[in-house]
Amino acid sequence: MLNEKKSKRGTVIALLCALALLALVVLLENTMKPTGMLFTVLKKGAVYALVAVSMNLLNGFTGLFSLGQAGFMLLGAYTYAILTIPTADREAVYYLYNGSAVNFSLPELFGGGAVGLVLGVLLALFLGGCVAAAVAWLIGLPVLRLKSDYLAIATLGFAEIIRAIFQWDPLGPVTNGANALKSFPTFSSFNIQNADGKVILRLSTFVPFLLAGVCVAVIVLLINSTYGRAFKAIRDDEVAAEAMGINLARHKRLAFCISSFFAGVGGGLFAMFANQAQAKVFTTAMTYEILLIVVIGGIGSISGSCIAAFLYVAASEWWLRFLDAETYIGSFKVPFLRTGFRMVVFSVIIMVVVLFFRKGIMGDKELPDLLKKRQKKATKEAVQP
């Protein structure tokens, strides 16, 4: 009884914190310079946080080492773009292929305007996730039986195959071949404008936070459910899990498909962030970035992945940028600093984390656990004078 009350209180607090965060984001965007670095970092961070959490679900919570995330992001991004490019713009976007094979756009199907935009975008993102999950289901059939290192290479291989297919010329009328897909609704499309076209309320950072936040919340619910516990059992000892009635093939496939679904949604969000969708962006290097975020945050910690995503994006896009610029102190040229140094420093930091801080920032704990520990300590100290 007491436990139920405690967990209900915990949920209420979590919800309030989330709402406060969303409000803060809206406030910031409407008071500060909207084109500042901060907002690029926040938007990209939110998207990467979702993808990192989806990867953590698979690698950290179920113990399946998969390196196919970029492939699923690609599927989600393209599905989203193909379904939402306005019909009027299709000719221009698909200029090499004389127009697109898909000639409708979801926001328009829903009646256009604000309502159409919201419904169209949501449905397109959802379908992007579904396509990714469906492909994951197919891939999973042969691949999930493999041992961990082979699974990694096989999923990496599939991601590369998917990328090759989407750059293939004959599929151009659908995918636009090697060219980028553009003109679809982006985060900025959600800014509310008045009759004169002047923006009165900026929501372009609020939207990714809201969408990513909802998805992460669903994953958290899943992790704490009976299926989430089954996934952890598979990770800890799959022989015992199987002996206790958990069907390994089915549950692994489930984890794989759910993780890919959210990677697909993340891909759609990424397209919205980048204002374009292009296959050559979704390389293995992107999967490695996500993997490194998961490792830095702590394999098996959702709050860790979220925090690490923002730290990673901030560091790589913003804070470490100075390392790329040639700097002079007086007339003395500071050695090492030129283009590319940022990534070197970054890679070194990552190696340091991997070698010396293997548990990452959060290990396998979540934020609420850390706060509980503090509370326990405080009450203990209060009791002993």
Binding site: L222, T226, Y227, R229, A230, K232, V239, A243, G245, G300
Partner: protein
């Protein structure tokens, strides 16, 4: 006469050229406690692994609760290598995965404890209830299955009471002392609601007093849960004290079968395994 719950027909398990279990015939009736004993390497755990579906037998069939659940005959490479007998008797191939067999009503513990190390005592037992839950991923994730989850949690609480682990239920499973970990593994197996409980050396590593407590405990479980038990064990006090019948394996072959009294007097068993007390 109680119903036959488990029956092994001509089970042979061959790994490459080594015959680990040779033409084993065994039966366990409802409500019995049956023991499988023999020297190390006799094939006891291999037999368990065949029964629970971890290994597919090279030849033979397993019947459980009135239905045939496992069957196999030498195929492919094994056809030439097969050294055992009775290979003409079986034609089908039925090889369910271990989880199917567990859901059909069997649950086991392991020779080397296999608890889930990052989970608490409570969660270790709760996870075993997952196979009995009827909710889909969606209803579980969106908490539409609250009633079922609450009911399962209540069952786990009860189970932990019965085995005496309630006070440590929120501790990490690996923080428990060895004896309690073994009891936890048994509780976990019970949570899967089995009709047949297979215990693989439950008293391994225990001192005589702990073994006595375990003996009483196993008897209690049979009463409380109306369950049938098949166990592998080396501690003869436990075996003789609690078993209704005993099967003795040596080098994969069954060398004797009977009540504890009969086995203790069986010369072959004494030569192969039991030995004679010095102060006879």
């Amino acid at each position: 006469m109680s119903e036959q719950l488990l029956r092994l027909d001509h089970i042979t398990m061959q790994f490459g050229g080594v015959v680990a279990v040779d033409d084993l015939e065994l039966e366990v009736n409802e409500g019995e406690i049956v023991a499988l004993i023999g020297p190390n390497g006799a094939g006891k755990t291999t037999a368990f692994n065949v029964i629970t579906g971890v290994y597919q037998p090279t030849n033979g069939a397993v019947w459980f609760d009135g239905a045939k659940i496992i069957e196999n005959h030498p195929q492919g490479k094994m056809k030439k290598q097969y050294k055992g007998q009775c290979d003409g008797l079986y034609t089908e191939t039925l090889s369910p995965t271990p989880d199917k067999i567990t859901r059909a009503g069997m649950a086991r513990t392991f020779q080397n404890i296999r608890l889930w190390k990052t989970q608490t005592v409570f969660d270790n037992v709760l996870i075993a209830k997952h196979c009995r839950s009827t909710s889909s991923v969606f209803s579980a994730a969106f908490r539409l299955n609250r009633k079922e989850e609450a009911a399962q949690r209540a069952q786990v609480e009860e189970l932990l009471e019965i085995v005496g682990l309630s006070d440590v239920k929120n501790e990490l499973a690996t923080s428990l002392p060895y004896g309690k970990q073994r009891r936890l593994e048994i509780a976990r197996a019970l949570a899967a609601e089995p009709k047949l409980l297979l215990l693989d050396e439950p008293a391994a590593g225990m001192n005589p007093q702990e073994t006595e407590e375990l003996t009483a405990f196993i008897g209690e479980i049979r009463e409380k849960f109306k369950i049938t038990i098949l166990l592998i064990e080396h501690h003869m006090n436990l075996v003789m004290g609690i078993s209704d019948r005993i099967y003795v394996l040596d080098f994969g072959k069954l060398i004797a079968h009977g009540t504890p009294a009969e086995i203790q007097k069986n010369q072959r068993v004494i030569d192969a395994y039991l030995g004679v007390a010095d102060d006879a």
